[in-house]
Amino acid sequence: MGNTLQDDALPNNNTLLGADELVLNMGPQHPSTHGVLRVKLKLDGERVRGTECVIGYLHRGVEKIAENRTYQQFAPYVDRMDYVAAVSNGLGYCEAVEKLLNVEAPPRARVIRTILTELQRIASHLVWLGTHALDIGALTPLFYCMREREEILKIFEKYCGARLTTHAFRIGGLQYEAYDGFEKDVERFCLDFERRIQEYVDLLTGNSIWIGRTRNVGILNAADCIALGASGPILRAAGVKWDLRKAQPYAAYDQYKFEIPVGTNGDTYDRYMVRIEEMRQSRLICLQAIEKIPEGAIMGKVGKVIKPPAGEVYHSIEAPKGILGYYIVSDGGTQPYRVRIRPPSFINLQALDKMVRGHLVADVVAIIGTLDIVLGEVDR
């Protein structure tokens, strides 16, 4: 990993020209670190020679808390990890516990879960796009993305009452029935969204300044991705066609036809293209799903008290940020013995050191943005 750096010293002022190596601190409070992340950059003039990330500013002990809550009580906690994409976290957890209980959610619940998760994927990518563009200097896409995200959050609010930390799913299925007009709202959003994606593409994709700032910046090739365990759009931009929705289908993904966008270079521009295309594919999945939502129950056969048999399970889903995994060990009681979460942002963040070497200081901001990390997930 990164070399051990000196403690953040002041710039070396002994020589007349002061041309020594410099440790630059991008502190926990910074407009571009997307959360409380501290990055120590070891600079040689303008070039970055290495980094060291200091995390833990948002550590809340979620995994330890899980050992003292019942399975249902723990579900709202997982929303707060990747707070930008709360629904995905909930999906992973509920499916993991269902696996442990050997229970399947009914088809209607699975389809509604898929629709909400894909909408959440779009919302998460919209936040990423807006903030990433803002870091690179394009002021306008942020507001356009927030405008679209507002529509999705309205759907969430109508569905379960909350916009951000939704706790939308329950172990065994759903609590709330899809409200009247759910399909209409989703359809209206999806039909309008294609035009909006075209707006973002028009603003950024062909823009030579954007290309100059993102082409060949932060390259992470396939071998490095796999060695570091990076997943999600980062892995796919490097050329590896691996998406858990196709490789190990969960929820209702095996019923729908969609493509997995793959990049070639593994640079920031490719990650941008992959995420834009993923938004398009999510939209297609939603449109296919709302065409026929099966009738039936929304809750499976799960009792009021959940006591899964002793055992362990590992279940992973394709969250917007990457592969989100839950490893739950049960000892037969109402509270889990151990919940270990595999957060995609934490593992993707390790790639930062490799990606910034040799780049200029101004690129560090772009590279942190392209990793799409959420500190709630990194620190838990």
């Binding site: 407009p31 200097g137 394009a138 002021l139 507001f143 100059g212 101004a362």
Partner: protein, 457 residues
């Protein structure tokens, strides 16, 4: 009477217009710059699907006043180790340079503080380059490593793009043959066409260079908030920062005025020599009167009484201004009907129409600045310098040659437009070549800079 008193009175009598203009510039331009900031925020909001400042005053119209008051009453913080004299001096230099260079700009055929300096454009260019001192001294006076770096970067950017901009201006000057501002506009009138059509590449180079001169996006890396080196303005707060900020917007107005004078025809109306378009002379009065009519129309739709009153006030102001603009024709009309025989045209302000066209063009230029700011991402510093030195300066040099050759061909009898198109083809070809070369160079440079150490395994 007392000879010194007499001398003073003679002095005031000869120079009262210039003195008043000077006072007006120092008093009014900061206020105008403040309202340009408001226009930018409203425009930014409009392009971003939101409303912008709405609370302070009707539709946010008192926002600049509120900002100015807030900045004035802020605590004056000076960093501990900072050099107090230079810390005070730097924003003052920046503001003074911007305001002084406004003195030479002619807003109309008779609106000019310093009348007919025969080095008009050069004066504006030179004095506005004094503003760089304000930046570099400001960065140094903050006594912070990052401020100094930001100031040096900013100055390096400004100096590079000033070279490119100066060369672009030379192309325009070649066509006009004189440095004085009224001479340049007269030359455009004589040529029957704005110089942007005779030297379009020069106009676009100057557009790019002036955006970089004023540290605007996409060239605003030295003062962007999301970058690590926070720039020369970090340690400045309160009114000192306001001086820098207003100096930047005043600089925008200056740069817009230079571009308008040189390339957009100054105070000439569109098609100044085409006689059948003479009705365009009525446009200023007409446009303002139409704005007044629109205000009356909107006044009926306001929800609150005070807003209705405000719209009526705006309408009345528009009609008053339109009346002033239309005064010459109204008086001629009255003369024709034999009424108001004693009224002469003497008190009519000459050149008011010209001032309207000039301000319209400067506003359009600044609109383009703001439009580009909200649309384009930011250049990285090395890309910025590369653009300036490798593309814009060579292109500007080629353009100077091209314009010279075109003028030579025209003097030897070739049709002016043919000569211009021939040389334009040459310049555009060189532009394409430079950009291709730049792209190939950045491709090879970035692949070469990747560290070869492999992490896998």
């Amino acid at each position: 009477m007392n000879p010194t008193l007499h001398a003073i009175l003679v002095f005031l009598q000869t120079w009262w217009v210039e003195l008043t203009c000077g006072v007006v510039i120092v008093a009014v331009v900061p206020l105008v710059a403040g309202y340009v900031v408001l226009v930018e925020r409203k425009l930014m909001a409009d392009m971003q699907a939101r409303l912008g400042p709405m609370r302070v005053g009707p539709h946010g119209l008192l926002q600049p006043i509120a900002d100015a008051v807030k900045l004035l009453i802020k605590e004056d913080i000076i960093p501990d180790e900072a050099d107090k004299f230079i810390f005070w001096l730097a924003p003052v230099i920046s503001m003074v340079a911007a305001l002084t260079s406004m003195g030479a700009i002619a807003f109309g055929p008779s609106f000019q503080v310093a009348r007919d300096i025969n080095i008009g454009i050069l004066f504006v260019l030179g004095v506005s380059s004094l503003g760089f001192l304000g930046i570099i001294l400001g960065g140094w006076a903050s006594n912070s490593h990052y401020s100094i770096l930001g100031a040096l970067r900013s100055t390096a950017q400004l100096v590079s793009y000033e070279t490119a901009g100066g060369l672009a201006i030379i192309s325009g000057l070649l066509l006009s043959g004189t440095l004085s501002i009224s001479g340049i506009v007269a030359a455009q009138e004589k040529h029957h066409v704005w110089f942007i059509f005779l030297a379009p590449v020069a106009a676009f180079i100057y557009l790019a260079a002036s955006i970089a001169e004023t540290n605007r996006a996409p060239f605003d890396l030295p003062e962007a908030e999301s970058e690590l080196v926070a720039g020369y303005m970090t340690e400045y707060s309160g009114f000192r920062w306001a001086l820098y900020f207003l100096g930047e917007y005043a600089n925008m107005i200056v740069v817009g005025s230079v571009a308008t004078t040189l390339f957009l025809g100054g105070w000439l109306r569109p098609f100044p020599n085409v006689h059948w378009l003479n009705w365009l002379d009525f446009l200023p009065a007409l446009i303002i009167a139409l704005i007044g009519v629109y205000s009356i129309y909107r006044a009926g739709k306001q929800p609150v009484k005070i807003q209705t009153g405000f719209m009526w006030a705006v309408a009345l102001a528009c009609f008053a201004v339109a009346f002033v603009f239309a005064a010459p024709w109204l008086i001629q009309l009255l003369h024709k009907f034999g009424l108001a025989g004693s009224l002469s045209l003497d008190f009519v302000i000459p050149g008011l129409n010209g001032a309207f066209w000039f301000l319209l063009k400067v506003s359009a230029y600044i609109y383009v600045f703001m439009w580009l700011r909200f649309t384009l991402p930011r250049y990285r510093f090395d890309q910025l310098m590369h653009l300036g030195w490798y593309i814009l300066i060579p292109l500007a040099i080629v353009n100077v040659f091209a314009v010279g050759v075109a003028m030579l061909l025209e003097a030897n009898g070739l049709n002016r437009w043919l000569a211009m198109i021939l040389t334009l083809i040459v310049v555009l070809a060189s532009a394409i070549f430079l950009v291709r070369w730049h792209d190939r160079r950045t491709e090879s440079a970035s692949t070469a800079s990747l560290a070869p150490d492999s992490y896998a395994g």
